[in-house]
Structures are given as structure tokens and as C-alpha cells.
Amino acid sequence: MRKQDLRRLSEYLWEVPATFRDDMRVPARLYASERLLEDILEVDDQSLEQLVNTATLPGLVGYALAMPDIHQGYGFPIGGVVASRTSDGIISPGGVGFDINCGVRVLASNVAFEEVEPHLRDLVEALYHNCPSGVGRGGHLKLSRGQFEQLLQEGAEWALKQGYAEPEDLERTEEYGRLRAADPSKVSKRAIDRGIEQVGTLGAGNHFIEVDRIDEIYDEEAAAAMGLVKGNIAVQIHCGSRGFGHQVCSDYVDHFQGVIHRYGIKLPDRQLICAPFNSPEGQAYFAAMCAAANYAFANRQVLAYHIRRTFEQVLAGKVRDWHLRQVYDIAHNMAKVEKHEVDGKRVEVVVHRKGATRAFGPGFEGLPEEYRSIGQPVLVPGSMGTASWILVGTPASMAQTFGSTCHGAGRVMSRSQAKKQIRGEALRQKLEQGGIAVRAGSMAGLAEEAPQAYKDVDEVVRTVSGAGIARKVARLVPVGVIKG
């Protein structure tokens, strides 16, 4: 795609008109500063073509959207958002992706970085030891099939009943950590086999636990509501539904390949595979996807438990207060049934967010009392060695983006390029010299996730903030990184 194919609507918003390609049903819109757009065009990684492809899906309302952290995915671009009517639209397992409810949780402390600093290396080592990570690695939990099915139905509520959560954790989780449409009978035996031993595990790839220092506060009122204090320690968890979610997605992507012809849907890419939301296939996938989402909520909750225990183990008696309070937990790969205003009418839609975050504005009833006036917290992890952000949703995100915003920095460099250019051990040493304690299971994996492989997260956040689809609250910088 060329720059002249996009029409500039405002400083941070660009549009590809629906006339660009015959099969587009709605225009495609990209949130990007001019600098980010030029980077996207220079990388030329097909992400804008993928955005246009999503605009061809049946039942779409408004626009096919992309956030400034857009980059090449498979099917949908990463950073893509579409809303399809529940009445005559679709649900796409390919659109949600394999890591269903991959998401981020942030925990905040009352302890200053300076107090923790002498124990930081011990803390990172203990977190690596206590939070199972790596390829296919099993967790500490041994569950029966019945217990596992209960977990799939109840998500974080299951974790609360088992003693892995504090009640406030659930209030500060998207959908209170439980999607009620979950139905374990819609998932395969293989998905259960893959997932049953992995509850409470981090996995590998771009998943991580990060210990951060709160570097700057931009909105005092919102930060106070979230308990964020400049200079204090916070922890981020980034992971999803592990092998369970991957199998659920694979099962339905395979199955739908054989049924799509029944519904007369033509797609520009087979990975965009979908079925009508109201069809038996669409409903079965939705129920299975909700089970995988609950798995991910429970998974992050059990990891949060291990992290709290680790803080106690390492810091008790050495610092004044080692307790970690949950700030929020959000998904960034999910399809959700929501109501949004389209052309002056409230319409029920399935909002697909693929590498994008829900960002509901102030007044949203699904938020706990203390957040209702500030808007939903949005957690935006950056790359290792750079900043991460906490934002809040706004009235503009509700009006323009189906209550959505960015989810991270977004990649600019391929994994093969990163491997060629960056040595894992050299990167680890550089991060350590910069004051970041690193514990990683794989040096090659570390190299692929190097900060150079990612966009400038500050520019991404400047863009969503400038466009008004999120508001800055706090900036975090890493002091410890744990990767599988």
C-alpha cells in the first residue's frame, strides 16, 4: 500500500476508503502519527493489506480499525478491531487468534523501589523459580477433569474459591474474570489434555513477568484511584490461555474450513475463517472461546498468587509493606458481545480485538466503584528495556473505536532479522548494565524480543492519547524481567 491510498482525517487518523478494493464492506481506519505511518509503510509487512482484508467480513458496522501498534499478523493484523452485528454478522476464530484472552495484569505495591533494590536480584530469581515458564512446562496444580471443567466455567471465580485470589482482584478484572457463556462441552479432549497441567504457567515467546518502577504520573486523580505512587514498585504479567486456547482455536479454524461454503462467505485469506454468530458453529466456537478466556483469567490469577507469595518470601521483614494490590486485568485477544452506538442507534455487535485492548470510558457499569468516574484502566506493556503505560478509556474511545485502544508497542523487526542482528547473551548484559535484572529460559528467545524489534511505545501512547482514544495515567520502567 502507498501513502496516497490513505486519506488523512485528522492529525492521528487515516482512512482507506471502501472503494479501495471491490470486496471491502466498510472503510478501514488507522490511528497513527505521521511518523508511525511512515514506519509502517517502510516496513511494508502487509499489515495494512491485512487491515483491508478485515474490512471484507460480513455484518461489519462502522469501520475496520487498526491501532498505532499495528503490525503483521496472520489473518487480522495485530492491533486490529472490527465489530460485526450479532443479528447477521460473524464470529471469527482466526480473528481472535490462537492465544485466546492473551492479556495483561498489573499489581501495584506500597513499597518504594529504593527499599526493594538491594533484594531485586533475589526477587527476580525467586519469581523465575516459583512461576513455571518455558515451552510446554506444567504448573504446580494437579486438577481432576471435573475440577478443570469448573475452572473453564468459572475463570477467576474458581481461583478465588481455591484461595488463589483476593475478592478485590475479581472486581478489578475485565468481566470480573468470568465469561458466563463458557461451555466446556464445546472443547475437544485434546484441548483439555493440553491445558489441564498448564494452569498457573507463563509459557514462552513474548510472555513475561516484569517488575517495574512507577516512573511518572500523568493523572493524579486516576493514579490515586488505582493506588499508583511515583517511585513505587509494580508488577506486570503478560500471558494467555496456553496450549488450551491454542487448541480451541486450531480445532475451530480447522472445522470452519469445511463448513464456510454453507454460508456463502468468501474470504481473501483462509485464516480469516468465520461463521455466522447465530449459526450452530458460531455459537459453539463462542462458548469454547469463553471457556479459553476463563482459563486465561484463572491462569493469570494463579500466577498473581505465586508472585504475591514470592514477594512475601523474599521481602518479608526487609521492607515495610510487600503486599501487591491488583490494579486491573485486561484481555487483548478476544471477541466480546457488546452494545455500541452506530449511526445514532444502539447495536449489539461482536467486537473482535486482536492485539487491541478494551478501553471503556467513565460511567461504564462493569467497573468497580473506585474506577467508575475515571474510566477503565488500560494496560500497555512496552518491550523489554523500555517503558510500559497505564491509561484509561475515554468517551472518545466509546464513540470512535468501539471502546478500544492499543495493546503494546508493536513489532517493527522480524524475528529472523532480530536473531541475526542481536545476540541474546549480549542483550542480557546490556539490560543488566542498564539496571534491569533479567532471568530468561532461552537466550535465543530473548534476542527475538529485543527492544530494537519493537516500535517506540511512547510514540504509540502519544498517538492514542492525541487521538483521544485513551488518556495517560502512569508510565512504568522495568527493573526486573522474567521470561520463559
Binding site: H71, G73, G75, G94, F98, G205, R270, S414, S416, G445
Partner: protein, 138 residues
């Protein structure tokens, strides 16, 4: 002119992509498996004995068969920790596949593929046989 490689990594911003070639479909499927296994690597447990398995799969087109085949191997890697030592595709016909694979379970892996995708997946005839590009979610 040098012969094109049986598989090679292609640039992809977020994930891994492999271009795979084969003089016939059987070789293409075998090379795809070898390429994917090469991407993941793995360290075998010296105390475990090798095992052999037969795999039989059926689909309704070649692309679906290819995804199912590679997904089956990924499952064995994740579930059994299988470090494959040999992959032999015996037969590929009528959208079905039969293969014999050997490996050592209980291995350790530094890298991980979440899934095999259908992104722009198409098996094409070329002057020298068949070619395809497979994108893996990592």
C-alpha cells in the same frame, strides 16, 4: 544455477514463516515437517529411549492436510516433549497422509510455536514440483 533449498525462513514481523519446496507432495510434506522441527530445535534427554509412531490423517484439501500434519507434530512436541530424530512421510494421496516418525520424549525446548496458521496458505505447482509458504504463530 544453485538448487533452491528444501525450506528457508521468510521474514515475518511477528511470527515465523517458512517457504517449503518438494519435488512431489510427499516430499513437500516431509520437508515442511523437517523445516518446522528445525525452527524449534530441542535438546533430547540422554536418559530416555527413542520411540516410533505411525501417524495417519485425513482432510478435504491439501492445505488442511498440511496444517493438520504439522499441528500433530507440534502436539507431540508440547505434550510429550518429543525431540524428533526422523520423519518419514510414506504416502500422501487423496487428501490423506501416512507417516512414521521417531523421536526421544522428555526433551527441552528453548523456542515455541503456538500453532500452524492458514494465513495466505496455498500449495502451488512449480516447474520443479510444489511450493508453499507456512506462517506459524509464535
Amino acid at each position: 544455477m544453485a538448487e533452491k533449498p528444501a525450506w528457508e525462513e521468510v521474514n515475518h514481523t511477528a511470527d515465523w514463516a517458512l517457504r517449503v519446496r518438494g519435488q512431489d507432495l510427499r516430499t513437500l510434506f516431509e520437508n515442511a515437517a523437517r523445516g518446522m522441527i528445525g525452527l524449534i530445535g530441542g535438546e533430547a534427554d540422554p536418559n530416555r529411549s527413542p520411540v516410533s509412531l505411525s501417524i495417519e490423517l485425513q482432510a478435504f484439501d491439501w492445505e488442511v492436510l498440511l496444517v493438520k500434519w504439522l499441528a500433530e507434530l507440534l502436539y507431540l512436541i508440547e505434550d510429550e516433549g518429543m525431540v524428533f530424530t526422523n520423519v518419514h512421510v510414506q504416502r500422501v494421496e487423496d487428501f490423506s497422509l501416512r507417516a512414521e516418525v521417531s523421536g526421544i520424549p522428555g526433551g527441552r525446548f528453548g523456542k515455541y510455536i503456538k500453532a500452524v496458521t492458514y494465513h495466505n496458505l496455498a500449495i502451488r505447482r512449480t516447474a520443479n514440483g510444489y511450493e508453499t509458504t507456512i506462517v506459524f504463530d509464535v
